[in-house]
């Protein structure tokens, strides 16, 4: 399966298994979603379970919170993560705080799926990676799958979770792994082991990172598209890095990170989002708090530049394997 099929499969299984699960969003019902993640689900499960909305991001999320508070499990789609800002008030002020302010009486078991990230010439309103806007809000969980297997297992876990989950889908990974070498032909998921997706219900638990590559020289913390960029950089530099795919940013699997950094003595954090106040800053703080006496070099960050996502110069913005590779070499000399 590719990542679109895996995500669709997760929703399909949950719709069949739990009558409380509903799926909705802009062009999600009849049309099946602009990225086709919900194709066929309305025909199979009915218009009351899978439906279209007006272009109303704030309304979509607000309605999902209300439904969640009264027993349903909405899994909604924001068509692009870049469109989420009108809904941010409902997410930050309502979904995230419902449990706390009602002293645990109400909670909102909802999932907000959003295609995220660049690499598809989407320009400034179709390429953003806003994960740090969600990890900064107490009460939200934030998930970023990097492959079809994880996407399905994580989405099932997210739908079954009793807290609001922000589910960010790196859109450049929908059809295949992408390592930043945009000039090369793309590889489909059918040629990657993590494109092997079981048809049955299974979990990838929230809060568990995956070690994608064992190594001894440096730990690379990555998520989403950057996992493959890290793999390419490691292959090209020959540096024996350990690559950790965080999979969920919050809850964060600090144990796996700590074990790795204490073993390698070096840590690099990479993400596509802008640098300043990005999730990488939180990772740097946590690593220095828990591993300070094991570090042999300053922690490095390789990220998108502090600018809106440009239309031209896309690949100069994108933190590709060349930038990651040169940072790796620099770190090993420190």
């Amino acid at each position: 399966m590719n990542m679109i099929e895996a995500i669709r499969d997760a929703m399909d299984i949950m719709l069949a298994q739990d009558n409380n699960v509903v799926v909705f969003g802009e062009d999600v019902g009849y049309f099946g979603g602009v990225f086709r993640c919900t194709a066929g689900l309305q025909a199979k499960h009915g218009k009351h379970r899978v439906f279209d909305t007006p272009i109303n991001e704030s309304g979509i999320v607000g309605v999902a919170i209300g439904m969640g508070a009264y027993g349903l499990r909405p899994c909604v789609e924001i068509q692009f993560a870049d469109y989420v800002y009108p809904a941010y008030d409902q997410i930050a002020s309502e979904a995230a705080r419902l449990r706390h302010r009602s002293n645990g009486q109400f909670y909102a078991p909802l999932v907000i799926r959003m295609p995220t990230g660049g690499g598809i010439f989407g320009g400034q309103t179709h390429s953003q990676s806003p994960e740090a806007l969600f990890t900064h809000v107490s009460g939200l969980k934030t998930v970023v799958p990097s492959n079809p297997y994880d996407a399905k297992g994580l989405l099932i876990s997210s739908i079954e979770d009793d807290d609001p989950v922000i589910f960010l889908e790196p859109k450049r990974l929908y059809n295949g792994p992408f390592d930043g070498h945009h000039e090369r032909p793309s590889i489909p998921w059918s040629k990657h082991p993590l494109g092997e997706v079981p048809e049955h219900h299974y979990h990838v638990p929230l809060g568990e990172a995956a070690v994608r590559r064992q190594g001894s020289a440096v730990t690379i913390l990555a998520y989403g598209t950057m996992v493959y960029v890290a793999e390419a950089a490691v292959a090209e530099t020959g540096i024996d890095a350990e690559i950790i795919d965080l999979r969920t940013l919050l809850p964060l699997d600090m144990a796996t990170i700590e074990t790795s950094v204490k073993k390698t003595g070096r840590c690099m954090v990479i993400h596509e989002a802008t640098l300043t106040s990005g999730f990488g800053a939180e990772l740097c703080a946590l690593v220095q708090e828990s591993c300070f006496y094991h570090l042999e070099a300053p922690i490095e960050r390789v990220t998108g530049w502090d600018t809106p996502y440009p239309h031209a110069l896309e690949w100069e913005y994108f933190p590709g394997p060349a930038r990651v590779g040169s940072a790796l070499k620099r770190m090993m000399e420190a």
Partner: protein, 325 residues
């Protein structure tokens, strides 16, 4: 109706509509050929709206546009060479290649920007209108948005704000029948016309046939005149269809096959315009054909220039984020 028109204005209106049509048809071809990066949403079929509205606007009037913004740009006088280069992501583009198709903006022309965010424009145009009112500069503001955008909270807020402050603004909802793939019959079932929503805030609201340039022009003229005289905002709904997909590459599985073909052959705005002005004896077919040829050459030249233009240098990557970095 044609009696009050001068020949030069008819030729100007036709030329603007033809420029938009030719530009969009050409971008459609070039996009399919693979030369254009990014997402492109074409305005073909909707030319009578941008043209009929913007013909009333002066240099210091402002417009806010949508993701389907090429037509508004051309009608407000943005240079076609700069637009084409911008779509190609070139240094010579209207925004130096930083914006692309969905974000073409030209301050000098009063074009506040195409916009990738649906429903973002109307509040901005309220600001332009209030700035004009505050500074006494006399300009009006026109916000274009789609039937999909009309459902956004920002649009309702902007319409109400414009009434609260009696702003020199006109709201133009371009109802092409599909918010991407979803019909307003589903998303706005409570109103026959989207202009009925004007009643909710107490402003005038009118719906016109968007294939009829003269109908759009007349209705827009009254509203813009009203705004210019300080008599407050209004809402114009223009009904038509788009000839291409929501975005280039959209297979349009949600539309009847041949629907567009039929419309092109019957009610197309350029076709209707040509029939009206030639049968009234005001302009000849030969004169309109000459415009077609000139415009074709103009757009051809814009493509040649755009393809040959340099990419932005690496040093542009971090500029224009702040006043100084």
């Amino acid at each position: 109706m044609l009696k009050k028109w001068q020949k030069k204005d008819l030729l100007k209106a036709y030329r603007t509509m033809r420029e938009i049509r030719e530009f969009e048809e050409r971008v459609h071809i070039e996009f399919a050929a693979g030369g254009i990066p990014g997402f492109v949403h074409l305005y073909a079929g909707e030319e009578a709206c941008a043209t009929g509205v913007c013909m009333h606007l002066k240099a210091n009037d402002k417009i806010a546009s949508t993701h389907r913004g090429h037509g508004h740009c051309i009608a407000k006088g943005v240079d076609i060479n700069g637009m084409m280069a911008e779509i190609y992501g070139k240094k010579t583009g209207t925004c130096g290649g930083k914006g692309g198709s969905m974000h073409i903006a030209d301050l000098d022309k009063g074009m506040m920007g195409a916009n990738g965010i649906v429903g973002a424009g109307p509040p901005l145009i309220c600001g332009a209108g209030l700035a004009a009112k505050t500074k006494g500069s006399g300009g009006v503001g026109v916000a274009f948005f789609g039937d999909g955008g009309s459902n956004q909270g920002t649009v309702f807020e902007a319409m109400n704000l414009s009434m609260a402050w009696q702003l020199p603004c006109v709201f133009v909802v371009e109802n092409n029948g599909f918010a991407e793939s979803t019909s307003p019959k589903y998303t706005a079932p409570g109103v026959t016309n989207l202009s009925d929503r004007a009643k909710g805030v107490g402003m005038p609201g009118v719906t016109v046939d968007g294939f009829d340039f003269f109908a759009v022009h007349e209705a827009a003229g009254e509203m813009i005149d009203r705004a210019r005289k300080g008599q407050g905002p209004s809402l114009l709904e223009v009904k038509f269809t788009r000839y291409f997909g929501h975005f280039e590459g959209d297979a349009m599985t949600y539309r009847p096959k041949d629907e567009v073909k039929k419309i092109r052959q019957t009610v197309d705005c350029l076709l209707q315009f040509r029939n009206k002005v030639t049968s009234a004896g005001m302009v000849t077919d030969a004169e309109l054909d000459a415009v077609d040829r000139e415009v074709k050459a103009l757009v051809e030249e814009s493509v040649v220039q755009a393809k040959a233009a340099p990419n932005p240098p690496l040093s542009d990557l971090l500029t224009d984020v702040y006043v100084s970095y």
